[in-house]
């Protein structure tokens, strides 16, 4: 049995290239379209071709314009708000843009956004990878296929449903774990409860809901890469006497790491920008605090936009929300950039090692 070449995503490699897969081809990041140098000169001359090329290139350029416009308009409206802001937009913790003297800043919002996403990641990544391993390497094949389907379907459940379920079903059930964490782990700053027994509409609960929401994303992407582990690597590990777990640790996990990381980053991006579920679960406040278990102390950028939009004054209140949206945009850009960078780096490494 010859080892199949470790192409990352066989589905995307161009179908019938001259050398099918024997060489570890160029990293499939760029658009490696099949090249027909001899056919291009002639084709370019026809009117139909020129029109079609123009149309498709125009569509691509339109996409670039949309992106530029998103950044441009958010910046334009955001700057309008920041100009009249009486506080420092980046370091102020309050959010009061609707009065005569608007004072607002994103400090508390950014901290809340990051904290809730960290909670979600801490819960969802290990569990998600565990589920992916279960589906790819432990469950019987028939069952695994079915489970894969179910996970994919669950990724499609709309966020407003998670929000509704979170606030009406989960929040009351989180009471116990809040009390438990507060009384036994209260000496850890993040679990310190200043109002024990308060109704748990907290960042922690929001983080749990986010974890449930992003779990299918992590699982789906991790499962995809785990299933692509070269069979020869797995069999080699087993033939050397490895137990199943040792095989997974030495063959599957190293191979799948870039996929796990990019899946987690994708999930993190989703968690950072998730609006409705957090808006429905959390009880809002605008303090810079690490206390996950205190309700009414913090919120996230996206949830604040959804909750505050109805009462926002025109134009300053709305512009202030837009300015905070710009901050969220920048944060998600950074996260996605890091994810892409990690994956690109790992991909080069994997390519040279193979």
């Amino acid at each position: 049995m010859t080892p199949p070449p470790p192409t990352r995503r066989p589905a995307t490699t161009p179908g019938g290239q001259a050398s099918p897969g024997s060489v570890p081809g160029p990293p499939s990041g760029g658009p490696e379209a099949p090249d027909h140098p001899s056919l291009r000169g002639r084709g370019g001359g026809r009117a139909g071709d020129r029109v079609f090329l123009g149309l498709s290139r125009g569509a691509g350029i339109l996409l670039l314009i949309v992106i530029a416009a998103i950044a441009g308009f958010l910046l334009y409206r955001g700057i309008n708000a920041i100009k009249v802001d009486q506080g420092n937009f980046l370091t102020t913790a309050g959010w009061d843009p609707n009065g005569l003297k608007p004072v607002f800043g994103v400090a508390a919002l950014v901290v809340g956004t990051v904290l809730s996403s960290i909670v979600a990641m801490v819960i969802a990544v290990p569990v998600g990878v565990g589920v992916a391993l279960f589906i790819s390497h432990y469950a019987p094949r028939r069952l695994a296929q079915l489970l894969g389907w179910v996970v994919d379907l669950l990724a499609a459940v709309p966020s407003v449903v998670y929000g509704l379920w979170g606030t009406l079903f989960l929040v009351p059930k989180m009471m116990g774990i809040h009390t438990w964490l507060g009384s036994y782990l209260g000496w850890v700053p993040v679990f310190n409860q200043s109002q024990p027994g308060a109704y748990p509409r907290t960042l922690f609960t929001a983080g749990v809901v986010l974890a449930i929401m992003v779990l299918p994303i992590i699982t789906a992407m991790s499962r995809e890469v785990f299933l692509q582990t070269p069979r020869a690597h797995e069999e080699a590990a087993l033939a050397l006497g490895a137990t199943r777990w040792e095989m997974i640790r030495t063959a599957v996990l190293p191979f799948g790491r870039p996929g796990v990381i990019s899946g987690s980053m994708l999930a993190l991006g989703r968690a950072l920008g998730e609006t409705m579920a957090v808006a429905m679960v959390i009880s809002q406040g605008f303090n810079v605090t690490l206390h996950l278990l205190d309700p009414g102390t913090s919120t996230t950028i996206a949830a604040n936009i959804a909750n505050g939009f109805g009462e926002a004054s025109r134009p300053v209140g709305v512009d202030a929300l837009i300015a905070s949206g710009l901050v969220l945009f920048v944060i998600t850009l950074i996260v996605n950039g890091i994810a892409r960078w990690i994956v690109a780096r790992r991909k080069e490494f994997a390519g040279s090692a193979a």
Partner: protein, 360 residues
């Protein structure tokens, strides 16, 4: 498997009885089940003795007893490596169960809460004039809104996305294609609320239009485009080059080759991608909240005046906070799940039926 055990290093002990003990000592196959039963018994025993009300806690204690107990026994009988293997198995299994519980709970709870209300009356009436005390009202206006907004978003985004994908796969080289690929990735990561804020600042605040279904559709289109570009790109790359070459060799111009050969070959895959994208944006609430604003009445015109939409309906009914409105919110949520799931299942069945060359 048993060949592997020869490498175990406990031969010295076996030297006295060389024939009987060639392999390492193993726990019997039924051992995990025994541990499971014992752990369940211990868990419920401790739970009952300590008077813990929550059965979740009983389960957690049982799980902990199972994991630790199995590891200890296995480590003493089989050695550390086997014990770690069993530990990994139980942790992976536990994480699977842990994940399954909330995900199943979401579905089960929504169905149990929403099924009673979801009937013909609910589907065919709007919320016009329904007060807090009325156990009437329905979702018709929101369904109309969702259909129109998602329909317009599809009409806007799919042609642009298809053409972009065609450009990237069939023509794209050089800096422009690289830039488009990169920014499509960037667009995939844009939170839906940011897309909503963009249309808000551009369409409503700068151009001065009013709340309308169309404004929401614009934001949904922005969310759909990168998803459709990505999936279409993947599908177009799956089309074998031989087909293109054969068509071009017959003297067919490149654009006709793309329209008549490449796109039809990839059509089912493209359709699947589009349907998944539709299912995704149909559940978006945040942009609709900012741009369509919500409306209790039936507004069939997506170009003027506030509309409603299904996810927004769920959010608003939840926000009203009385018994009947909460029931309506659950019914709306159930309807939303059903629609999204149906689209997903249909898309995946289509993909499976018409998978190109059945490579998977």
């Amino acid at each position: 498997m048993s060949a592997a055990e020869l490498t175990q290093d406990d031969f010295p002990r076996e030297a006295a009885v060389p024939v009987r003990r060639l392999t390492q000592r193993r726990l019997p196959r039924w051992a995990p089940w025994l541990f499971l039963v014992v752990a369940a018994a211990v868990g419920s025993g401790i739970g009952a003795a300590a008077g813990l009300k929550s059965h979740l806690q009983w389960g957690l204690i049982a799980a902990a007893v199972f994991v630790v107990g199995q590891w200890a026994v296995s480590a003493s009988v089989e050695g550390r490596r086997r014990a770690t293997d069993r530990l990994a198995l139980s942790l992976v299994g536990a994480s699977f169960l842990l994940a399954l519980v909330p995900l199943v709970a979401v579905l089960a709870y929504t169905i149990s809460k929403g099924a009673g209300k979801l009937n013909g009356y609910f589907l065919t009436h709007s919320m016009n004039g329904v007060s807090a005390l009325d156990n009437t009202g329905g979702v018709y206006h929101a369904l109309i809104g969702t259909l129109e907004q998602v329909g317009i978003a599809t009409l806007i985004s799919v042609p642009v996305a298809l053409l972009t994908a065609v450009y990237l796969v069939e023509y794209g080289r050089g800096k422009l294609a690289k830039a488009i690929t990169f920014f499509v990735d960037v667009m995939t990561g844009i939170p839906s609320i940011v897309a909503g804020l963009f249309i808000l600042s551009f369409w409503l605040l700068t151009l001065g239009f009013n709340y309308s279904g169309f404004a929401g559709a614009l934001a949904l289109a922005i969310l759909m485009m990168p998803v459709v570009v990505r999936s279409t790109e993947d599908m177009l790359r799956l089309v074998p080059d031989e087909l293109r070459e054969a068509s071009l060799a017959l003297g067919v111009p490149r654009w006709r080759t793309i329209l008549k050969v490449v796109l039809p070959t990839a059509l089912s895959g493209i359709t699947t991608g589009v349907m998944l994208a539709i299912a995704r944006v149909a559940g978006e609430t945040a942009p609709v909240l900012l741009l369509v604003f919500g409306n209790d009445r039936i507004n069939n015109d997506p170009f003027s005046g506030p509309q409603s939409s299904l996810p927004l309906f769920v959010f608003e009914e939840y926000g009203k906070g009385n018994t009947f409105s909460t029931e309506r919110a659950w019914a709306g949520a159930l309807l939303l799940i059903i629609i999204v799931m149906l689209m997903n299942v249909a898309a995946r069945v289509l993909a499976r039926l018409k998978a190109p060359k059945n490579s998977r």
